[in-house]
């Protein structure tokens, strides 16, 4: 029993115990404790993350001539710790009053906890997979576990979204299966190492097919561009903390597999040699462009949303693009930025989702047009959301800035101006949309019906605050995370980044977050000095005492600007991307529908013996030929 085996035993026991426990309170406490224990176990395995070791589980299955085994590398460890910590936060969040309210509204709390642990287990199975078959099985487990989580929401849209997700997931799985078949056809085995061999032996056309099949499979999970339609709605329509968990890490499993299969075993260098059209467009740059477009389009779709959860979920799709973009730069800081963004995004995305859930818990709605002014009622939630949106927008001093900085720096070094602009466009859109989020929820006019709203209880507050502390600390001292990143880079064969506690060492312009944050806080300090020590005292006034062109405001006057927050922008670009992908999706469905109609009519044809007649005529002819042949 090495550490990994012990870890798996603990995970299995956790799964069983959570599935068996019927008592809600005990279940909550026990599940939270299990997650804590998992974190501890992962910490014990941290040599994997710091020294780029590999732990292989003693457990393996031999089936139908395939040997499946499981192992932990730095990459698996990194994703696992994110998974488990997100699950811990979600579990803690739902264990207290939120769970009570969920049950009162008719939700099945035990099932939600079970869905969460199932998600965690399936993700760990995937992350630990040691060959393509175990990877595929883990992959499917993850898909169905998240499906289980999604259908727990009782709304009609949720089920629709979940079913849509299933269809997308199946498409991805089938693409993956086809890629597996290609590997198997050329080598007769499904080991990871066979990918490389298989790839080398292939003709150029097959290489494209091969890479694209893998990529489609993974991209669907990650919600990369042509396949982004399912994710946001599905994640948004998941019960509270479940959405936080899924939004934080679930779709990143696609990135993990991209890292393992495409980066580690196919190799980005090989991708670079696959020319598509011009000398500028090769497979790697194609993927980079997909990533860049993924940052832009979902972000601007997010900008149009008026539901807080959907807005966040769309950003989750968009942020995935940064990760892939960074990795596709194939250098030390770009890939480090991309990898680090996984953790960063998970931390602030989970925090943001939890704040939205907290708001929903108190107000009953996440509709951005029906909220406002909650900052006085829920100041700590506001603080968490503020930290979260600063992280999401990638502004200093939060961790989102660090990873985005690295991606930008790498784009600069590699001379990719258009990708750079695309990435910035994504960031700017994010700033616009997160401001809309925080403005429409927490700022502006407080509605009459929300005047009795209070801060959420501590069971919900603690995970939120904990996550925001992570957001800040890893932003302030990225050097805490960078050793992990460096060993991942070593494991999967990328250039290794040079780091220190404050950030990156890089010739001609590195980053030292301790200094940057210091300067920023110094600036704020001076600003505060100017503000608080100069000038007289200010009178706190009520929101109705407000300039309205001489109008007398009262609670009847809706004096809050929230609907269609960016009319000018939308007027211009609103119809640029209006549903073009939805349209594509519909075209595919219509085409299928048309073909199926043809087939249906064929089955309804008046004379089903038509084919019989055809074959019989040929056969009779052959009899005649045969006879006459024999006769002559």
């Amino acid at each position: 029993m090495n550490l990994l085996d012990q870890f798996f035993v603990i995970v299995a026991v956790a799964l069983i115990s959570i599935a068996m426990l019927r008592n809600i309170k005990v279940n909550s406490i026990v599940s939270t404790l299990w997650y804590v224990l998992m974190v501890v176990m992962l910490a014990r395995m941290s040599s994997v993350a710091y020294n780029a070791d590999t732990i292989t589980s003693a457990f393996s299955i031999e089936l139908l001539g395939f040997r499946m085994y499981w192992k932990f590398t730095a990459l698996s460890w990194f994703f696992s710790i994110i998974t488990v910590v997100s699950a811990l936060a979600s579990s803690l969040f739902m264990s207290g009053d939120w769970g009570k309210q969920y049950r009162q509204q008719g939700g099945n709390y035990g099932l939600l906890q079970l869905a969460l642990i199932l998600n965690v287990v399936s993700m760990l199975i995937l992350l630990a997979s040691g060959d393509l078959l175990s990877l595929f099985i883990g992959w499917e487990f993850v898909s169905w576990a998240s499906f289980l989580m999604m259908v727990l929401m009782p709304s009609k849209t949720a089920k629709k979204a979940a079913v849509k997700y299933v269809i997308y997931a199946i498409v991805g799985a089938m693409a993956l299966l086809a890629a597996l078949a290609m590997v198997y056809a050329s080598s007769g085995s499904l080991d990871f190492t066979q990918i490389t061999d298989a790839f080398i032996q292939m003709t150029d056309n097959m290489k494209f097919g091969f890479v694209l099949l893998f990529f489609i499979g993974f991209a669907i999970k990650m919600g990369l561009l042509p396949f982004h339609l399912w994710q946001a709605v599905a994640y948004a329509e998941t019960p509270g903390p479940g959405a936080a968990f899924l939004g934080a890490i679930s779709s990143r499993m696609g990135l993990f597999t991209i890292l393992v299969v495409i980066v580690q075993f196919i190799g980005l260098g090989n991708l670079e040699e696959m020319n598509i059209a011009l000398p500028y467009l090769n497979m790697k740059s194609l993927l980079a462009w997909i990533a860049a477009l993924t940052t832009i389009i979902p972000t601007y779709i997010a900008l149009q949303q008026h539901d807080a959860k959907r807005l966040l979920a769309w950003h989750g799709v968009g942020q995935g693009g940064y990760m892939l973009l960074g990795i596709m730069m194939y250098d030390s800081i770009g890939s480090a930025g991309g990898l680090m963004h996984v953790l960063n995004h998970a931390s602030y995305q989970a925090a943001l989702f939890l704040t939205v859930v907290a708001v929903v818990y108190r107000t009953g709605t996440s509709d951005l047009n029906k909220l406002g002014g909650l900052v006085t009622q829920m100041p700590l939630t506001f603080l968490v959301m503020l930290i979260g949106i600063i992280g999401l927008a990638g502004l200093p001093p939060m961790n989102g800035f660090v990873s985005k900085w690295m991606v930008y720096r790498s784009l600069l070094v590699n001379g990719e101006p258009l990708l750079f602009v695309a990435a910035v466009l994504g960031t700017l859109g994010t700033i616009l949309s997160v401001y809309k989020l925080i403005h429409n929820t927490f700022l502006g006019q407080l509605r009459v019906e929300h005047q009795q709203v209070r801060e959420v209880p501590w069971s919900m507050m603690v995970p939120m605050l904990g996550l925001s502390v992570i957001v800040f600390i890893t932003g302030f001292m990225p050097g805490l995370i960078l050793p992990w990143i460096a060993s991942i880079q070593e494991t999967i064969g990328l250039p290794v980044v040079t780091y220190h506690l404050g950030g990156i060492e890089y010739a001609k312009g590195g980053l030292d977050m301790i200094w940057v944050s210091g300067i920023l806080f110094y600036g704020f300090g001076v600003g505060a000095l100017i503000f608080y020590f100069l000038g007289g005292k200010a009178k706190r006034i009520h929101q109705y005492d407000n300039y309205a062109g001489g109008h007398f405001l009262s609670s009847e006057v809706k004096y809050h600007y929230s609907n269609n927050f960016y009319p000018g922008l939308m007027h211009l670009i609103g119809n640029w991307y209006r549903g073009s992908f939805k349209w594509m999706e519909n075209v595919i469905v219509s085409a299928l529908s048309f073909v199926s109609k043809l087939f249906e009519n064929m089955y309804r044809s008046r004379q089903p013996v038509m084919l019989l007649v055809l074959v019989a005529v040929v056969a009779l002819f052959s009899i005649y030929k045969n006879y006459s042949g024999a006769g002559s």
Binding site: V166, M174, L177, A178, A181, G188, V595, Y603, R604, V609
Partner: protein
Amino acid sequence: MNHLILLVVLPLLSAFIIPVVAKHSLTISRLIGPVVLVFILALVVLSWNSVGSNGFAIFLGGFLPPVGIVFYIDHFSLMLSGLIAGMLLIVWPWNSYVAPRQYSLYMLLTAASFGLVLSADLFNLYVFYELLAVATYGLIARQKNPAAAVAALRYLFVSATGSAMLLLGIAIIYTLTGTLNIAHLATMTDQLHGLAGLSAFALIVIGAGVKAEMFLLNTWVPEVYSTIETPLAALLAGLISKLATVLIIRVLLMLFQQSEVLQMLLVVGVFGVISGEMVAWRAKDMLRMLSFSSIAQLGMIFIAFSIAGEVGLWIGLAMMLHHLLVKGGLFLLADKMQGSFDNLRGYAKRSAMAVAIFIIFILSLLGIPPFPGFWIKLMLILNLAEQNNTLYHYAIGFILLATVIEAAYLFKLVRYLFQDEEAATIVSTPKSLTFWYAQIFALVLLVSLAFISPISNRLKDMASQVANPDIYINTILPSHLSGGNP
């Protein structure tokens, strides 16, 4: 071991006895069928071990082949016999209103099925096939639903034409070779090449394909399945179609191991898969959906058989068994969940167990790990990929596409089942017995999960036994290989 002949004789006998006995005692006539089936089941189980790896032949009336009538018995045919007996026991109509004549039809069907499985002679196959057809026409036409008569009539037209073509095919083979004993034919396969041989095979495949729900010959499927009782539909979809497939396999393996023939089968299979799934996607009621899905599954089985050698055979066998279990189970469930999808709104609240079983079945059908369906589909796809022919590679694409479509419609249905608002009208009347069987099927499916390796090994053994014409020939015509002239 000659007592295995009872497999055919006993049901046939009872089929004629039942109406006579019924005149004296209705109860006894009702009991005869199940007793016979149980007896046969026991017989099959008991003689399992005594059948060696080579199989053995029963020469009826002592006439030696190629002249006499020969039954060939190996593990494959024993397994099928067991399945037939078990399946019939499950769908056996226990209701008190069933007329004794229907029991004799069932027993006739049983006898024909055993004959089809055991027969080692092309013409005997034809006879039993026809007998099977007559029994099914009768069973369908005996349904209370008057629409069933129409469905039966239309089915009869297609099927009878098919049978006539089967006969034509047999005629061609006889013209070419002068014998109809399969083992004897297997020794002179080289005479079956060429256009005439190919057209003979085409005729046989098409003739049998009518019942095997092969593409383009399956237009009767939706009509029939939607008008008859679901247990009978389960029998037709689960068992009869497989028996017709067995006929095709026997002919294929013994006589037509030619790449053109295999590719023909592949193309037909691919069309079946795609068309079946596509139309099932449009279906708006349970039975229609299941029938078209069953067409697609049969297409998949044909694709599996189109892989040359024992690999294709064991995958095909596994798929057959899996489909038998899953689709049979689904049809049995459909007895509980009948009607249009609108009527099934919010069904999960009414019967969580039924929906859970339903989901297990469809997950396995789709090939989601770790269910058995996944391993079968995986093996199919990997082995298709290994073929040195692009046609097979395209087939992979079609199978995967079909799976996506399948997922789309199955989960559309799942969405209906889990919807909050319940349907205004509830049409289905739950029958507890079929539901129990469905549960047992699901349980068997889940238990088989633990025995994937042994099952697959057993199937491989069986396949290697079946796929080797030498064993077959050696058993039936022992003199042939030793140089003697039959």
